[in-house]
Assembly symmetry: C2
Homo-oligomer: 506 residues x 2
């Protein structure tokens, strides 16, 4: 096909319709699988764990902070025991909501209350699409994926690097990631939180981006850093460093234990929740000791393992109810709540969709504030899928639209139009319909609502195949949001200098 | 492959694990997208519709019943106007819960309260499976599908014939269906409700099955008959006949308007809900006039059309919230609530799964009592899919498991086992885990939780391909539940006689 014809064919496909950028408000009452007594029993068990069993904190400075605050510390065993009062008092410093800046101020984000912020997938070593198959991530893949995250309005926040660019040196990869995040998106982007130096680089780059210093950034935070614990009951050195650097700079830290019931947590859901809550509280205490009042989020990733293989399972029934229960625990402490859109599926098929829906409905009914890993995750988080990104965007848009209230007034009740249509007739041609039909209902991104014959004539394409066309079109139509040339240059200089420093040391 | 080897290979596949037959209790608070005031506003609008605009009732006898009760009737225009007081008083006769008998008394069903009863797909003209493709339904297909419905424990109630057997004469097809339903399943089965004679045949066959007469069956009902209205504001003759015959015999009737917003209902959700509620109430009034106190269900199928093509769309965001709103309206009148598991997808892919999940979560959060069309529906209800049946069974099992409460006590909190595991260790080997791991978590039916490499070695099969193996294995392992020989013979005789009568008339 000659180039011009091909271009026309592309144009003929039409613009991809998607919902506009918007914030999500969840007015539904949260689901509460636990009674108030059960919430208290689990929370008491968590406080017991922290007081009697303690946490192993591998970082000396972190242990010192705990000790200064009055915790019992054994530096030899690297153990920290937190009494109940200390936990409760310290956690109380955490704000119940906060705002994060984005490069484009219209994309600033409110975290907390009944808002939901959606992030894209972060961290997979592999990526996959129908054309190129499964492969270790590269910098080119990373940039393509970041462009798609910018293009999809339903994504509020970049997820911390969708793909590990294994073709770049591991020591300086984070600098390339942050530069790409800043240049290719005007949305809020997530830093990498492992290690002091990396965290500091993200902070410095954010300062350059916002033309401010560390105190300016602390007054008006931009970074949301996810810190996992090494469940059970341990926080390692890179995690502590990242946490302390970010919290010290007044940036938001999200503590997310990975308490898989039956593996890193007890096989019972109540036990896994008690451990999850204990570890989340310990991390939040550390943040508040570093800098009282620093924004934090309560992260939950309590799922279960497949007891036949020992491998983690996601989007399970247990995961959905644990997600709701963790929401209750987060609200118990008045802290914004983070959950995820997870699945164990290895390909973008029915299982990928129903497991993700279990995760999504679990999260939304739990009153999640930050839906981490919201779009693109496949294979239990090992792969960023280009087609899953589109399918997730559809599921997320549907959820956004579902959450919009039903308007009930004289106009919407439409008794006049009901009176006007004959029994057995139809409403297609009434003025009430004509005035509203264009924007009355959700328009899907990738769903095909045509009848079987039309669908067959169109090539019997599956949702995943249609998603493939969509991301390719989005990529063709992507436009890089303009960045102030001086800031771009300063960032480039910073990255070049830091690479030189790091490489000189190696 | 020689026969014996093939048999062994089949045996080696292992038994299919599924959850045991069980009733489902939904202890969650229902989702309420409408405020109490909005519920009243919609209900008032519905009463207004019935009082001022009226319903067209094509059946003379039904209009007479309305007239006798005090409604204003115009036989020339075939119109019936119901004043508010009449509606409210008459609807109040409906019970808020009832029990339906099944062939196997252990499979009797409670409809109402916080129970959820799941039925299989009913009515599609086509069927589909991966091996044989899409085709008009046959009697052989029907019987295969019925056997699968018997085999899947998650299905509580047969859905009223999963596939239209177009190779059988249309006038007597219902007799073959009911005989097959009774013989191949020991679960409750749904009758066909269009026309007096067909309804009467189902009632007679139920009497034979339960070795009782019409009054015995009325005391202890077995049939749950779905009656749609011809939205907007019309009930046709076959519907009226079916409704009156069933209600007259004391059998349960489920009134389900099909108020597609933008087509058979106003383009606004509030308007479509007002119309849906009006039509449901009109049908329920007619049932209660026929036989006060007869069990009824409040059916809802308010979705929207694709405004580009005019074709119906299912599992949409609007459908999910309409489902919840209808649940509020049903509870407003204290009547058991019916919803569906619907999708517009043409194949068993991601869309089929996410649209079904939107329907399912909509229904469950709405506190549905009867999930009609619960398993097998594809293509907006035009096709019964063998693979979708399995995928739906998985999604439904997951929902059942999700609804089970979280147990919180000393044993499940497991503080001892948490103390026992070293920080950074794991719980695989603890006694607490060993005592519980076998039944700790949900075991999937068709989901594959293996890692990518194992999945690839197994042939990279999609969920739909795995579902294909599962239904074939279930079909091979199906065992027909034994039926009393005298009853079987009496049913056979009845069917033979009725066929002779019907054919003689033709």
């Amino acid at each position: 096909m000659p180039r011009t014809t091909r271009r026309r064919a592309r144009r003929d496909a039409g613009t991809i319709e998607q919902l506009p950028w918007q914030s999500i408000v969840n007015d539904h009452a949260p689901a509460e699988p636990l009674s108030a007594d059960q919430v208290e029993a689990i929370n008491e068990a968590s406080l017991d764990i922290l007081e009697r069993m303690g946490m192993r904190v591998l970082h000396r400075g972190a242990r010192d902070l705990f000790a200064e605050a009055g915790a019992r510390v054994d530096h030899g065993e690297q153990m920290v025991w937190l009494d109940r009062a200390l936990v409760v008092e310290t956690v109380a410093h955490a704000p119940d909501a906060f705002t994060l800046r984005a490069r484009n101020p219209e994309r600033n984000l409110v975290i907390g209350g009944n808002r939901i912020v959606i992030t894209s997938v972060g961290g997979p070593p592999f990526c996959h699409d129908l054309d190129r198959g499964r492969r270790p991530g590269s910098y080119a893949d990373l940039c393509e994926y970041l462009k798609l995250e910018q293009s999809l309005n339903v994504i509020h926040m970049e997820g911390g690097g969708p793909i590990e660019p294994v073709d770049l040196p591991v020591e300086t990869r984070h600098l390339d990631l942050h530069l790409a995040q800043i240049r290719l998106l005007d949305k809020n982007w997530k830093p990498l939180g492992l290690g002091r130096e990396r965290a500091a680089d993200a902070i410095e780059m954010a300062c350059i981006l916002f033309d401010t210093d560390r105190e300016g950034l602390a007054r008006d935070p931009a970074l949301f850093c996810v810190i996992n614990t090494n469940s059970p009951r341990q926080i390692d050195i890179p995690m502590c460093e990242g946490l302390m650097e970010m919290a010290g700079a007044g940036q938001a830290v999200c503590i997310t234990p990975f308490t898989l019931a039956g593996a890193m947590g007890p096989v019972t859901l109540a036990g896994a929740l008690a451990l999850q809550n204990a570890e989340a509280l310990a991390g939040i205490v550390l943040c508040q000791l570093v800098r009282p009042g620093v924004p934090v989020a309560y992260g939950a990733f309590t799922s279960n393992v497949d007891m036949k293989s020992g491998s983690p399972a996601f989007g399970t029934p247990e995961y959905a109810k644990a997600t709701q229960a963790c929401g209750q625990l987060a609200r118990r402490h008045g802290i914004p709540y983070r959950s995820s859109n997870a699945t164990s599926a290895n390909t973008v098929d029915a299982q990928a969709a129903y497991e993700s829906e279990m995760s999504l409905w679990g999260a939304v009914t739990a009153h999640v504030n930050i839906l981490n890993q919201g779009a693109g995750w496949l294979e239990g988080g090992l792969t960023a899928s280009f087609e899953k990104l589109i399918v997730d965007a559809e599921m997320l848009q549907m959820m956004m639209e579902y959450l919009k209230p039903i308007h009930v007034d004289e106009q919407t009740l439409g008794l006049e139009t009901i009176a006007e249509v004959e029994p057995g007739g139809h409403f297609f041609g009434t003025q009430h319909t004509l005035d509203r039909y264009e924007h009355a209902f959700y328009t899907p991104l990738v769903s095909d609502w045509s009848n079987y014959e039309t669908w067959e004539e169109g090539g019997s394409r599956t949702t995943t195949e249609r998603a493939n066309s969509i991301w390719k079109q989005l990529l063709r139509e992507y436009q890089q949001p303009e960045l102030d040339a001086a800031i771009d240059e300063a960032l480039e200089e910073y990255v070049t200098r830091r690479k030189r420093e790091i490489n000189a040391r190696a």
